[in-house]
């Protein structure tokens, strides 16, 4: 795409609400910055608990994103391409975690994957695996809430992709799997990347499902949002610091990723 030689002046009727929207999104951040205890920032950040929570957050969000991609991309493909009966219903079900209050999601996960849950019971009895109160539980909770973002994004990309490329690949002798791997997937790569970024951001900020399903234990299941919430109970200043750290890290990572794949992919 070439840029127009001179971009036309955008109409005021769009600019005004755009700026208002931007202010609405940015001002709370400004509030955090204004109230941050800058003088004690260094010592607060150096606390082990902060670093533990940050490390855990980054690790679990990344793992959750991997799981989302691993399972979400085939699911999106199924929704977009496979002649599944009742596909509308399936699609609606996929978006359930978006509308479900995360805490309810957490309870639901407990009911299925908990020690006495429908599936969890057998995991415990047969393999000795219990998921609640573990880091794996955090990853699952985050995957649960984040997966719809990936599925929706990738399904949109798949629907927009030109099916005729796949036909061309078929005439060249490519099997369906080869077509998916070498043609479809590269064509929707920008969609997958955008979905993964959304997923990661959502997983990083996940609170309700995580604390309900995986509990809160420093170093094991206490991610940054949980640490922030509990800090708020006694030490709002510390909560601000933690929030800023979470924000800074996520903004830095997202900005780096955006430059690297999202823009070059399109």
């Amino acid at each position: 795409m070439r840029r127009a030689p001179e971009s036309p002046r955008p109409p005021l009727i769009l600019v005004a609400p755009a700026l208002a929207g931007l202010a609405f999104l940015v001002l709370p951040l400004a509030g955090l910055l204004a109230r941050a205890p800058w003088t004690t920032l260094g010592t607060r950040l150096a606390q082990d608990q902060v670093l533990d929570a940050l490390r855990l957050s980054l690790l679990t969000a990344t793992l959750a994103t991997c799981l989302c991609v691993l399972f979400g991309v085939p699911l999106a493909w199924m929704l977009a391409r496979a002649p599944v009966p009742g596909v509308r219903l399936v699609r609606a079900l996929v978006t359930v975690p978006l509308v479900l209050p995360p805490v309810v999601g957490g309870v639901a996960l407990l009911l299925v994957l908990g020690r006495r849950g429908l599936v969890g019971e057998h995991l415990d009895a047969w393999f000795g695996i219990t998921l609640p109160f573990t880091t794996a539980g955090v990853v699952l909770a985050e995957t649960f809430v984040a997966m719809p973002f990936l599925v929706i994004s990738v399904e949109g990309a798949l629907r927009a992709a030109d099916l005729r490329y796949e036909e061309a690949a078929a005439t060249l002798g490519a099997s369906r799997w080869t077509i998916f791997r070498r043609v479809t997937l590269p064509l929707v790569a920008p969609g997958v990347a955008a979905g993964a970024v959304l997923c990661w951001a959502r997983a990083l900020g996940e609170f309700g499902a995580t604390i309900t399903f995986a509990g809160n234990f420093p170093g094991r299941t206490q991610t940054m949002p949980l640490a922030v919430y509990l800090a708020l109970e006694t030490d709002p200043q510390a909560a601000i610091v933690l929030s800023l750290v979470l924000l800074a890290v996520s903004v830095a990572v997202l900005a780096a990723l955006r430059d690297r794949w999202v823009s070059t992919g399109t």
């Binding site: 061309a168 060249l172 099997s175």
Partner: protein, 348 residues
């Protein structure tokens, strides 16, 4: 053993019905020519296995391909917009087919490089499709289709996406490559010139049915439908001949011809054979009729004059000077004449 293509394509859908017998000898290029919606592309997609057939068969070199999915038919196809994979370089695009057929990475790239060289694009191997011109993309698409060494090559409007100038050049190049291809080839086009230049045989399809076939020269000389006649630029009438006199337009007029045929015939004459007069010419042994000028349009250095009946419609082609001399304009009444020797009559 190459025996070429032998197919009967039956595709029935709610609003569409294709039933077309199609054969092409090895090395022969058959052009499917027809108006939009005639079923040409559907026929091509049915051959490739991209459209399920309701009946018939597809045999290439003796093997029945109908039960096979597209990826196991060994057919090369050049798509209308070429559909080069945007994320792969020209070389990788061409190597895609050989790779799918089981060639190793290196072998596939070598084959691809050879084909790119053959279409004259060796130096564009690492270029992405979006950086290629239309003509270059068409050549890469052709190389990609040929690199799988198909028994049957399908080309869907291979020149439609090109501008007039490139088209001329690419058409000539495509003709060379098709001449070098030993399998059967089927080409879909709505452009009669493409069909004439590229094909050994033309199959005219209208409404899902074959309406005429023959060599380009035959089709051009003896059109059998109004569509073909318009394409090749002839005035065509159906009529009954009685010892060289042909009754046309339901007997409203009779034209003298030089061919002593009897029975149902087609009668054709070129627009340039029509002479126009302001007043009735005297004592000439010509077919003469009174006509009204429906439209006058310039075409290159000639002017096409649409004449409307009764007794029948026709197109005349005259020089701009004649237009001025005759003071032709829409609605003017004139006399038109065609010599019997300028008409061409053949059995219907």
């Amino acid at each position: 053993m190459r025996t070429g293509l032998d197919a009967r394509l039956v595709v029935r859908r709610a609003a569409f019905d294709l039933d077309l017998a199609l054969a092409a000898a090895p090395g022969e290029v058959v052009a499917l020519l027809g108006p939009n919606g005639a079923g040409k592309s559907t026929a091509l997609r049915a051959l490739a296995g991209l459209v399920p057939m309701t009946g018939g068969h597809v045999r290439v070199d003796g093997d029945d391909l109908r039960p096979l999915p597209p990826d196991r038919r060994g057919i090369g196809m050049v798509f209308q917009d070429y559909l080069l994979f945007p994320h792969l370089s020209a070389l990788e695009n061409v190597a895609f087919g050989p790779r799918c057929q089981g060639a190793g990475r290196r072998a596939a790239r070598r084959i691809a490089a050879e084909w790119l060289d053959r279409v004259g694009l060796a130096e564009f191997a690492s270029v992405r499709p979006r950086a290629l011109s239309g003509g270059q993309a068409q050549r890469v698409a052709l190389a990609r289709a040929l690199a799988v060494e198909p028994g049957l090559l399908l080309l869907d409007e291979p020149l439609a996406a090109l501008d007039a100038h490139t088209r001329l050049e690419i058409r000539a190049a495509l003709r060379r490559h098709l001449a070098g291809f030993s399998g059967a080839a089927v080409l879909v086009t709505h452009d009669p010139l493409d069909a004439m230049v590229l094909a050994d045989r033309i199959v005219v399809v209208e409404g899902g049915r074959l309406v005429q076939q023959g060599t380009p020269a035959e089709v051009a000389r003896r059109p059998r439908t109004g569509y073909v006649a318009r394409l090749v630029g002839l005035n065509l009438y159906r009529g009954r001949a009685d010892a060289g006199r042909v009754a046309v337009a339901d007997g409203a007029a009779t034209l003298d011809t030089a061919d002593p045929l009897d029975g149902d015939v087609f009668l054709a004459f070129a627009p340039a054979a029509v002479a126009l007069y302001r007043t009735r010419p005297d004592g000439s042994p010509r077919n003469l009729w009174r006509a009204r000028v429906a439209a006058v349009e310039r075409q290159g250095d000639r002017v096409r004059v649409q004449l409307s009946g009764p007794p029948f419609d026709a197109v005349a082609e005259v020089t701009p000077a004649a237009v001025a001399e005759l003071q032709l304009s829409e609605g003017s009444e004139i006399w038109a004449a065609v010599k019997a020797t300028e008409t061409h009559v053949y059995p219907a």
